[in-house]
Symmetry: C2
Subunit: 101 residues, 2 copies
């Protein structure tokens, strides 16, 4: 059963196309992480919140990624990270057309 | 451009199949909300966190839904709701196979 990793934190930019350019290599590397299925990249230029909605194949791979990602963000000076890992209620998600098994 | 609404809050259950049974009519009604595209239902039985990852067609419809949903949760006694609305970085999301335009 797949797991959701929900992450957000404050960042002063870049956003939009500039962000895409700066992080495209990172994005490609995320595709190679163990258990990774997909990520939607989130940003709010008004509040300087950025983050992502990830799907991992297992709770363990989500936890492992979050641990690595938190350390990577800390190296960039970002210590205050909101992160939660959830299982998925498949029956309700099926009703509301969520794109996940 | 689509928007992400990320919501979570504490709830003492029900979870899993019981939750699905209790909220299936609610789930069907969410499909009818203006601008709604999909929702993944999230739950963590260890921490009593529940919530959802929603996609709406516009920022305005995401905001309108959140306002209505917050009032509905307040009527159930749930006042402490974490909610954030984000735009999507399409270029990075395409690289990481996020299931959204």
């Amino acid at each position: 059963m797949a797991y959701v990793l929900q992450v957000d934190f404050k960042m002063d930019g870049p956003f939009g196309d500039e962000m895409a350019e700066e992080f495209s290599d990172l994005a490609k590397s995320i595709n190679e992480e163990e258990g990774f299925m997909w990520k939607i990249w989130t940003e709010n230029q008004e509040t300087n919140d950025v983050g992502g909605i990830y799907i991992f194949k297992t709770k363990e791979t989500a936890e492992k990624y979050l641990d690595m990602h938190s350390k990577r963000l800390a190296r960039l000076g970002i210590e205050d990270v909101n992160a939660k890992i959830f299982s998925i209620n498949s029956k309700l998600t099926e009703i509301t057309k969520g794109p996940i098994i």
